[in-house]
């Protein structure tokens, strides 16, 4: 709107070079975000390409042993990917239903007062440092779980999944609630006019009408769970193993290693600039970046659909 009137009036100042200089400085600031993306891609690709010259991409993507430091070295990323999937699946089992129900409560049931207290309280969940969540999982959640599952390991996928699930609840609930709040009241009133209860309105009108916003929040939350690092490093441990689906209990009660945890382990060790292990760090980083970047793009695209529909 400001642009419509601004140009002709501001041209009268007679300081066009100076005005242009300011515009250029601000433009460079905005362009910095694009440069950051380029820098990420170039940095990751640079070392990853050198890595893939020595280890074939096929061996990397299909190998079932991850052992970058111990002789014989092996760079199969599958154990890390399955480990990441286990955590993501476990976190999703908690965060997706809980987050959706939370959004329904905030958008459809909560009084203004309840909402004004609960909403910021839920946002706090996303603000707690992930290293703190990891510590909570290790020293409080795992001992509590060992009452139910006596065979649980000190480092295990279950407590890491639970804590990551709690961490990403706000991601689901706040975006879903935005989508639900933007459903026009006329739809709700039409439903109430037919004698529907709040339950029917919520589940048969509001949720279907805001489904693209909900889907977008789900994808974004899963992307966060995939990229989550400190909680899974501290709580799930560093045991890269291919997940054995025939033993579902073992999958969650034993230690695993995610892509991010493997990166932290390599980063914290003394891998030097020119070793293969150092470059494998960038190969795993590139894999992680591509997965999360694609998911974020899909989430953005899905979200833009509900925005167009109701505004």
């Amino acid at each position: 709107m400001s642009d419509a009137t601004a140009p002709d009036l501001s041209k009268r100042s007679g300081q066009n070079t100076r005005e242009f200089a300011y515009r250029a400085v601000f433009f460079v600031c905005a362009l910095l975000s694009v440069l950051t993306t380029v820098a990420i891609v170039v940095t990751l690709l640079g070392d990853a390409i050198t890595f893939f010259a020595e280890v074939s991409p096929i061996a990397f993507l299909t190998g079932t042993t991850w052992s970058p430091a111990n002789d014989p070295v092996s760079f199969g990323v599958l154990p890390l990917i399955t480990g990441t999937l286990v955590i993501t699946f476990g976190a999703a089992a908690i965060a997706l239903p809980v987050g959706l129900l939370t959004a329904i409560y905030l958008a459809e049931y909560a009084s203004d007062r309840a909402r004004s207290v609960l909403k910021p309280a839920i946002e706090v969940l996303a603000g707690v440092p992930t290293v703190v969540y990891g510590y909570f999982a290790l020293v409080y959640v795992t001992p509590a779980l060992s009452v139910v599952f006596p065979t649980i390991s000190t480092f295990n996928a279950l407590s890491a999944s639970i804590i990551v699930g709690i961490m990403i609840i706000p991601m689901v609930s706040s975006i879903s609630e935005d989508a639900m709040s933007s459903v026009p009241d006329s739809l709700r009133e039409a439903s109430y006019g037919l004698g529907a209860t709040r339950f029917t309105v919520s589940t048969s009108v509001v949720v279907p009408a805001s489904i693209s916003g909900i889907a977008s929040s789900y994808i974004l939350a899963l992307s966060r769970a995939i990229g989550e690092t400190m909680a899974v490093t501290i709580a799930a441990g560093n045991t890269p193993r291919l997940v054995d689906l025939t033993d579902p209990a073992g999958v969650f009660l034993e230690s695993i290693q995610t892509m991010t945890a493997a990166m932290v382990q390599l980063g914290a060790s003394d891998v030097t600039g020119q070793s293969l292990a150092y470059r494998s760090l960038f190969a795993v980083g590139l894999t992680l970046f591509v997965i999360t970047f694609v998911m974020n793009l899909i989430s953005e695209w899905v979200a833009s659909r509900y925005r167009e529909e109701y505004r």
Binding site: F26, C29, A30, V98, L118, P129
Partner: protein, 294 residues
């Protein structure tokens, strides 16, 4: 879902009963995360009692739990935060001004906007790799130095700062801009004298909240080689330093229960208290200016 609900639209007791149950289920869901976090915070606070004292806050780390302290990491975190604020504030506000005041709704603008949204979702450990590859290996600012950490974490929180600054600038009423132009002001003068003063509280709030996130970041610091244990405070931009989350991460791997349930708890509580103070400042700024405006 739909077939199940269709059958009970005959306004009977059944549907009202179902409605009530559903309300409590959604309320329970809304409380689930908050209550769980509350319980965990209560546990950690109880465990920190007796460990979180003046000695802990003013001593360097020590292998004996009773003598261990957080001082170098505490100072390191605060210095790092100031550095990040100095980098992100001008860059973030500059980018937001361009996108809100100058940019037309063209392809380039939409591309930049989409790019910022995507960067906000890039895992922090990837930013750590960027810092390692760009600032450590390529520019050679030194492994694990304050400067590298400052730049790396700044890039990480920059998208959040830009997005919140954009919201603050967008909330400035257009009539104020028109009035400024009407008085013969240039665009630069309008931004400096009208838009920025009016949106500054919002920009400050967003930046401070982003800084709160910055001091909790651990993974990027590990990737760029920030040492796990440091005994002194940083004395320059190229000095090695440690930060509170790094120290917590290191301590949490000590098997000693005095560390697990004592020293680490004290560290966690200190970090959360600092975080809480930062966020309270942000909320105070927001509330102060919100009431003034309305």
């Amino acid at each position: 879902m739909a077939t199940e609900t269709r059958t009970d639209t005959d306004f009977g007791e059944v549907s009202r009963w179902k409605d009530r149950v559903f309300e409590y289920v959604t309320l329970a869901a809304a409380l689930f995360g908050v209550v769980t976090l509350g319980v965990l915070l209560a546990y950690v606070t109880v465990d920190a009692v007796g460990w979180l004292d003046w000695q802990f806050l003013t001593s360097p780390p020590h292998p004996i739990a009773a003598e261990a302290g957080l001082f170098p990491a505490l100072v390191g975190s605060i210095v790092l935060m100031v550095l990040i604020a100095l980098i992100t504030f001008p860059l973030g506000v500059g980018a937001a001004i361009y996108l809100e005041e100058y940019a037309s709704d063209g392809r380039l603008t939409r591309f930049i906007q989409l790019n910022i949204a995507n960067l906000a979702g890039v895992p922090s450990v990837v930013y750590g790799l960027l810092g390692l590859g760009l600032f450590v290996q390529l520019i050679n600012f030194g492994y694990g130095t304050l400067l590298v950490a400052g730049f790396t974490v700044s890039l990480l929180i920059l998208p959040i700062v830009i997005i919140s600054a954009q919201e603050a600038i967008r909330s400035v009423p257009d009539s104020l801009r028109q009035a400024s132009y009407g008085m013969g002001a240039t665009k630069r003068q309008t931004i400096r004298n009208v838009v920025l003063p009016r949106s500054l509280p919002g920009i400050m709030t967003g930046t401070i909240l982003a800084l709160g996130r910055a001091i909790g970041e651990t993974a990027p610091l590990i990737m760029i080689g920030v040492p796990t244990t440091v005994f002194g405070v940083p004395d320059g931009l190229f000095a090695k330093f440690s930060a509170m989350p790094m120290q917590i991460y290191t301590w949490s791997s000590y098997p000693d229960t005095a560390f697990q349930y004592g020293v680490v708890s004290a560290g966690v509580v200190t970090l959360l208290v600092v975080l809480l103070s930062i966020n309270s400042i942000a909320i105070l700024i927001r509330n102060k200016y919100q009431t003034e405006r309305s």
